[in-house]
Symmetry: C2
Subunit: 571 residues, 2 copies
């Protein structure tokens, strides 16, 4: 992970005199990790957390006791990705600590105390997404994550363990798991902890209440009985049991022992004053309008000829390249460009070429690499779903909203499609095309396809649309089918789009965030939607309250020896 | 609705110089309504909203354009309750407006702008609960609510319509439905609007986005096509169609045309400095400790002898009397005693008598009145579930946690049960008893019984417990079965309970609210949990942000002719 010198936006107004947050870059590589060690031993990977105290992303907080900040998490995210793509042989990932006594003390508290509200919220969101990625590796990729807690796991440290499939805690009379945020800091466990405790591990709610209010946590057999960990193991047997557990996971894994990974090569990215460029994705930043126009380009080359060619192309294979670039861009904009509140989503290219690539994904769905690519596309689109930015898709002549790229239109809060062509311009009127992947392969965080969510009120419509897959649908048809919000002709197009964007920029950014979080996820709820929509919202609220973040709040008083002073009114 | 002169707690610190909120009383009666007219015509009730502009609960805001404040909502809640208990013959309730052009302009904005944060949040919660009660009348009581929008329904006015089963909008070229909160005020529709739009009415999410950002709303056939209303009707045919719709609902209703209602007599309640007393419920307020001890008394008399006797007892029938008293007390404490953050739940009486009353509810479940009583108990317990107070149940000798009263223990965040008796005191050790109603008759907002929620991690346990219904379970047994959190003996009891309460009082009230909202509702989500847990949390956050509530925020600038000034960073 590297930092450029360009600062990310203005310093927070009216917030603590925090150092201006750096412009964050999400590049990382195991050779350069400062906080993790990745060790591959046959079919088992060990990921050892050994935080460099002096390696904080921002000055002002030593990363004591294996506590973490965004920089530590960026490396973890890199490890999660590389294990999936570069190590098909790995069927089990053991996360453990590199220090004595403590596995991980959680998010660094001084860092939280000095951070602006948007920074805290962004940090929690990214960390949660990485945790979800860990769960996705276990569920979708045959790569089972095991937490080998060789010391105490507190707060975010325990939340990391909660993201693993199996939690082994050393029984040494002192090592515990704990969520001490509420008693010590007056905030909630910020990365899904409460939800994972009661919804994933199904801890009884009154025991969860005791647990989450007991700063020292729970250890030994009690932790097992309360379902907080799976096993409590004496230190002398710890390594052995961890190895057994990993071996069992490997035995269950469908990943190819003899597979050859592909290399996640360094992203080619150019950051200019008002543009961010990748080979297939370009972002144009309009700071005055508060918008970013994101253009995703379809494949420039013909689709590889079969599975071997896909493996040979590796990170250059168009669907993977696009997923990586879009993923990086979302993180880049979300973290560094807080004031650009609307993302305009466009595509350029040949729909047939997009669909040819989609066909490869479908035809070779059983291949480990193709499987990884599909799930990475899924995760990238989910990252878009939970981004607190207004998403407006524009479908114009020359675009290629087809199959996987059609998901960008379906993920948008609104979609505008030009009916016809602008007078005097060349080219054919735009069309959009449904593909196989629109019908379940790329689910939203709530487990439904974007089409299912869109047509909750007319469920038969999804079946009807299936019959239209592969057909080029023009604007009138797309409007009639409910696939776009509006389809102005060339006389109205420019004004209607401009007004929509200007109007969006005039609204309260907070209210937009809240509205979008509610409108995007009708229907069922899952662990993920509960974390992002319910837990996160409560935490956001608590983060802004004087009881936590005010000068006498618990977050600011922690470690000073003084007690926080609370407004005792219950809300 | 009446107001006493005693102020409710201290004036808000650091908030707008709002008039100190009055101590609110939730009594109301149709004879004294200032804002509603209830007209019963055969089997159809008409509820006419005709707000008295000068009748605001607090000085400082005329209730123009049929806008409402808490006082208007208290009358509505009274009407909802009376229609169910006093009018068994009524099968359809038509809500309509008593003014020209406007049905209801929603919550009064000046009231919102001048209110403290806790007041706003409490107001929204109570209003939402009333809306849920309207939906419950349609779903559980054969009393179908119909919104006859004879003019524009904006904001909370449209949200009231959304709570109805059927929405009829007059088509006069100007009357519209709208949710203008986001564009005009920088907040969200606060009483379930967004959730009801996409989850209940299943409006397509991009259309919902357009709708919720368009201050002037949507009217006529577009409103029908977007699923925002069910019918758009010319004014000359309006009354006729409304009457037809009501007649159809009556025809579908299973309520007894010839039934005789019972009278919801005035509650007997004494409010002292440190106690609130009802015949069956007593609350002791300890302002220093920040606790309220709520003691619910079991039946003082033998159970009525059959159905006729239940009807004859009416509001004196113990289960109904207790539901009413507890309901009133929850509202009383939630609104007027913000600093009392922990409610200690106790019972006194004879478990056998409680279970005898429960048996009556089960044996006569098909009777309309018994059905109403069960659903009222359900709604009251749900009100407890969503109250932002820590709930600690204490099971001691002389208590009667059995059947419906056992739900108080299951609703609590923690339950402590004394194992044995306190040395030197008389009486038998406490027991608890499962009853029929614990297995599904009184579901939580998420649709599950409290036992199902408790044992999400051990689903077989619920079946096993069913076999134990009617058995008196002592502390050791209750602990072993997972029904209580802790069962200290007489040596530890006092200290353990005292420490738990002191510890609770030392925590951040905000963090407790957030934690409890997350731990209480594992498992599935419903319209209700989405409204209370997701939408409410976002709204709470937005309510505290300067973009809405700050001196230059949208809520404060509304109506001044000045534009709000926003911090444009997206969070």
């Amino acid at each position: 992970m590297t930092l450029s010198t360009r600062p990310a936006g203005a310093p927070p107004a009216g917030e603590a005199a925090a150092p201006a947050p750096p412009r964050v870059c999400f590049d990382a590589h195991p050779d350069r990790y400062r906080h993790w060690r990745m060790q591959i031993e046959g079919r088992v990977a060990r990921l050892v957390l050994d935080v460099d105290e002096a390696g904080g992303l921002v000055p002002g907080y030593p990363l004591k006791l294996n506590s973490y900040d965004l920089g530590v998490d960026i490396e973890l995210y890199d490890a999660v990705q590389r294990l999936r793509f570069e190590h098909p042989e790995v069927g089990a990932v053991v996360v453990t600590g590199g220090k004595d006594k403590v596995f991980c003390a959680g998010a660094n508290i001084r860092m939280l105390a000095q951070s602006s509200h948007p920074w805290k919220v962004n940090f929690c969101k990214f960390t949660n997404e990485t945790r979800n990625g860990i769960e996705d590796a276990t569920a979708s990729s045959g790569q089972t994550w095991i937490a080998a807690l060789n010391g105490t796991a507190s707060g975010g440290g325990y939340e990391l363990a909660l993201a693993c499939e199996h939690i082994l805690l050393v029984d040494d009379g002192s090592s515990a798991v704990s969520l001490p945020e509420l008693p010590l800091l007056g905030v909630l466990p910020g990365t899904g902890g409460l939800t994972r405790v009661v919804d994933k591990r199904r801890v009884r709610r009154d025991l969860a209440d005791v647990f989450a209010t007991r700063a020292e946590g729970v250890r030994g057999e009690t932790a097992v009985r309360w379902r907080l960990v799976d096993e409590s193991i004496p230190r002398r047997r710890f390594d052995e049991v961890v190895a057994e557990c990993a071996a069992e996971a490997v035995a269950r894994s469908g990943r190819p022992a003899e597979g050859r990974g592909i290399s996640l090569t360094r992203l080619r990215r150019t950051i200019g004053e008002n543009a961010i460029d990748y080979p297939h994705v370009r972002a144009e930043l309009d700071r005055e309008a508060g918008t970013v126009t994101i253009t995703v380009h379809g494949p420039g080359e013909t689709a590889p000829d079969g599975l071997e060619a896909i493996h040979a192309a590796g990170a250059e294979f168009w669907p993977l390249a696009v997923a990586r670039e879009l993923d990086d861009l979302i993180l880049e904009l979300r973290t560094n460009e807080l004031e650009l509140g609307t993302w305009v989503l466009r595509t350029r290219g040949d729909s047939a070429a997009v669909l040819a690539h989609e066909r490869l994904l479908t035809d070779h769905a059983g291949d480990w690499l193709v499987n990884e690519i599909r799930h990475y596309l899924k995760r990238t689109l989910k990252r878009l779903d939970v981004s607190s930015r207004s998403l407006i898709a524009l479908v114009e002549p020359g675009s290629c909203f087809a199959g996987p790229l059609l998901e960008l239109l379906l993920a948008a809060d609104r979609g505008y499609m030009l009916d016809g062509v602008i007078e005097g311009e060349e080219g054919e009127p735009a069309t959009i095309t449904l593909g196989e992947t629109n019908f379940g392969a790329l689910p939203m965080p709530n487990g439904l396809s974007r089409l299912e969510v869109r047509f909750l009120g007319e469920p038969d419509q999804v079946g009807a649309l299936r019959g239209l897959a592969g057909e080029a649908l023009d604007a009138a048809r797309a409007l009639e089918l409910g696939l776009v919000t509006s389809a102005p002709d060339d006389i109205d197009w420019e004004d209607e789009v401009r007004l929509a964007l200007e109007e969006r920029a005039s609204f309260s950014p907070d209210a937009l965030t809240g509205m979008e979080a509610n409108l995007r996820f009708p229907g069922p709820e899952t662990l993920e939607t509960k974390i992002f929509a319910r837990l996160t919202a409560w935490q956001n609220w608590i983060f802004t309250r004087p009881n936590a973040a005010g000068p006498d709040g618990a977050l600011r008083k922690y470690g000073t020896g003084q007690r926080a002073s609370f407004d005792r009114r219950r809300v």
